[in-house]
């Protein structure tokens, strides 16, 4: 399968982030087209395109928009989830840095489609230059009449606020995000009611990922059939695949859904020199890990699910045989412990216990019973937590014990970690530099 730049199309251009660059590539043409249609027709186009949420869960976007209740004359909102914090995920941040206008245009079209007159982009606070680019793009768009009053002479108004968060992974969960946007601690809400019914300020609200909303202009411009002709039947269109780790050229590779890691690696120049693939995540740290056995698994929602994992955010973190899997999993688990919002007991206590046990195992002071205990703790968190963070925390542990139990046992047997940490780093260390000169 070949690479198919849609959202990444202009990323390599000079001043890629400006309105001029965007307009010269056909930008805001789709908005003009959209404003000539009925909002309901746009929802239909998005439904027919087969676009599914790009934020992890893959829910059909047009269907979600269809859940909004009838207009009761009160406000409704569009909120773009730009919190991107799932370990390994690194597509939305470069998109907003390089091509913020494709998101702004997507917001304008989507807000019109769902009848929202105020939209928000909630961007994580730890990326100041991305926030600058968004503020600037919004300012440019207001000045050019793509936002604000009587957009493109249509009589329709839209206000867009870009809001910076303040550091909390859980605010990526859509209901925690809404609480955070309301000025509260970011903790998940009980669902139902879903945001479409009672979201921001308890009003009907659509929350979508950056990449989802940014895909809307191309769909409106080129048609639903064009989009659904790419990808697979149930996983339509293109998506950005983020390759990181021990590969020759890490980066963002936009391709039809269903491309395989083997194909992606061809585009990325293969593994780093002389190294062999050991394990990888198909969709971020919260998705069960894969090995070289899965090189030919089509990376679409169905095939990855059938292979026992999740497509997630297409965040392919790739590790070669120099990497200790126990170390990798321990660190992810420390992350979940740090980011657990504390609202429910299984996740709050469970991530604490899992961290303690894993730290022992990594250091070589654990026992084989510890390995079984880990699996037990995971069983009492998975499916029993208030939100998906708890489930996600168990994925790397359960999958790695499944695939690499012998490596856990080796730590116990040897009383230490058998891996040399410096072998996995991407830079030359002083001794090696000397040897090479």
């Amino acid at each position: 399968m070949t690479l198919t730049p849609m959202l990444t199309r202009q990323w390599a251009e000079e001043q890629s982030w400006t309105l001029d660059t965007y307009t010269s590539g056909g930008g805001y043409r789709a908005l003009t087209k959209a404003l000539k249609k009925e909002p309901g027709d746009l929802v239909k186009i998005v439904k027919e395109s087969g676009l599914r949420g790009r934020g992890g869960a893959g829910f059909p976007s047009g269907v979600k928009w269809g859940f909004l209740p009838e207009d009761d004359g009160g406000p409704r909102y569009l909120v773009v989830n730009a919190d991107e914090s799932e370990p390994g995920t690194c597509k939305d941040i470069p998109l907003m840095m390089a091509s913020p206008h494709v998101l702004v245009e997507g917001v304008a079209i989507s807000a019109y489609a769902i009848g929202a007159r105020h939209a928000f982009i909630y961007v994580r606070g730890e990326v100041v230059h991305v926030y600058r680019r968004l503020l600037n793009a919004v300012k440019e768009a207001y000045a050019a009449g793509h936002l604000g009053r009587d957009i493109h002479g249509s009589g329709w108004d839209l206000e867009l606020t870009v809001h910076a968060g303040a550091g909390a992974y859980i605010c990526g969960e859509e209901t925690a995000l809404l609480d955070s946007l309301e000025g509260r601690r970011g903790q998940p809400r009980l669902k139902p009611p879903f945001p479409a019914v009672a979201g921001l300020y308890s009003r009907p609200t659509i929350v979508n990922n950056v990449e989802t909303i940014a895909s809307v202009p191309a769909i409106v411009d080129n048609g639903a059939d064009w989009f659904s002709s790419m990808g697979t039947e149930k996983s339509a269109g293109v998506g950005i695949y983020s390759l990181s780790g021990h590969v020759a050229q890490p980066g963002q590779y936009e391709a039809p859904l269903g491309i395989t890691l083997r194909e992606l690696l061809e585009h990325a120049g293969g593994m780093r020199e002389g190294s062999q693939l050991k394990f990888w995540t198909p969709g971020g740290s919260s998705t069960p890990m894969f090995t070289a056995e899965h090189l030919d698994t089509p990376l679409d929602f169905e095939a990855v699910g059938a292979a026992g994992s999740m497509l997630g955010t297409r965040a392919l973190q790739i590790f070669d045989e120099s990497t200790c899997v126990v170390r990798a999993v321990t660190r992810w688990t420390e992350f979940y412990k740090h980011e657990s919002c504390g609202k429910c007991t299984p996740c709050r206590e469970g991530t604490f216990w899992m961290t303690q046990i894993l730290q022992r195992l990594e250091a070589g002071t654990g026992t084989t019973e510890d390995i079984d205990r880990l699996v037990e703790v995971c069983e009492s968190i998975g499916g029993r937590s208030f939100c998906a963070l708890g489930d996600g925390a168990t994925s790397p542990i359960v999958s790695s014990i499944d695939l690499f139990r012998d490596e856990y046992e080796e730590h116990v047997r040897l009383g230490t970690c058998p891996y040399e940490r410096d072998a996995s780093v991407l830079f030359d260390l002083p001794e090696q530099e000397g040897a090479q000169v």
Binding site: T8, R9, W11, A12, S16, W17, P75, E86, P87, T89, C90, D92, I93, M97, A98, S99, R124, G125, E126, V127, V128, H129, R132, N136, K139, T161, H163, A164, A166, G167, A168, L181, E182, G183, R184, R185, G186, Y201, S242, S244, G245, P250, G251, Q252, H267, A268, S285, Q317, T323, A328, R331, W332, F335, E339, R421, S424, V425, L426, F427, L429
Partner: protein
């Protein structure tokens, strides 16, 4: 409320501007807390009281929010906040080694500040730049593809008062208080500086264009 009158008046105007962005006043709290950090370098009891007063909240309510988010500092903070990503991908690619080196070099640990008040060190979770691992952040600007040598040089330059240039970001890293003002939603005119995407972000599209130059001439490789 114990900001001096002129400061309170100036911040009051900023607060009004922030509040006007939202249908509901309370939504202004997160940017207001960033604004407090832009004044004092951290969220002080005065800052808490100021937010409470302007948003009709109690100080306890504001405090509960401020302590939830890692970007809000509760103690005076260095001029430059230096973060090393130690989440799994970066850690394995060399982030752990960089952390150990920089921490030893500066003689401080996580959430500590050098005696000269220049640098506060922090262990960071994933900052959405995995294709540039190992990653560091200075005042929330990207420093990509780091090495222990580059990291030591970076903190030395910061302490010596030299300008440092992020890999993907503004032409130079501004002090923490200035960055905090941007995060409160006040533009600093630097959006046009720096690269668009950077070499790894555009790896796929450059490959399609068969254009290898676009990958290297964007100043991404430090």
């Amino acid at each position: 409320m114990s900001f001096p009158a002129d400061v309170a008046e100036r911040l009051g105007k900023d607060a009004e501007a922030i509040i006007s962005r939202y249908p509901d006043k309370r939504s202004a709290l997160l940017p207001m807390l960033h604004l407090m950090q832009s004044e004092e370098g951290y969220v002080s009891p005065d800052g808490i009281a100021f937010c409470a007063e302007h948003l009709d909240l109690t100080p306890a309510e504001v405090s509960a929010v401020a302590t939830f988010y890692t970007q809000y500092k509760r103690r005076p903070h260095g001029e430059y906040q230096v973060g090393v990503c130690i989440n799994t991908l970066c850690a394995v690619m060399g982030g752990d080694r960089i952390w150990e080196d920089v921490s030893e070099h500066l003689g401080i640990g996580h959430d500590q500040t050098t005696a000269d008040g220049k640098v506060s060190l922090e262990r960071l979770e994933c900052n959405a730049a995995c294709d540039y691992a190992p990653v560091m952040m200075v005042n929330w600007e990207f420093f990509d593809n780091m090495t222990p040598d580059k990291a030591r040089q970076l903190v030395d330059d910061l302490r010596a008062g030299k300008d440092v240039r992020p890999t993907r970001g503004a032409d130079k890293v501004e002090p923490f208080v200035k960055i905090s003002r941007v995060l409160a939603g006040f533009e600093d005119g630097r959006a046009g500086e720096g690269v668009g995407a950077g070499p790894a972000s555009q790896a796929g599209v450059s490959r399609v264009a068969g254009d290898s130059t676009a990958r290297s001439d964007k100043g991404g490789d430090r």
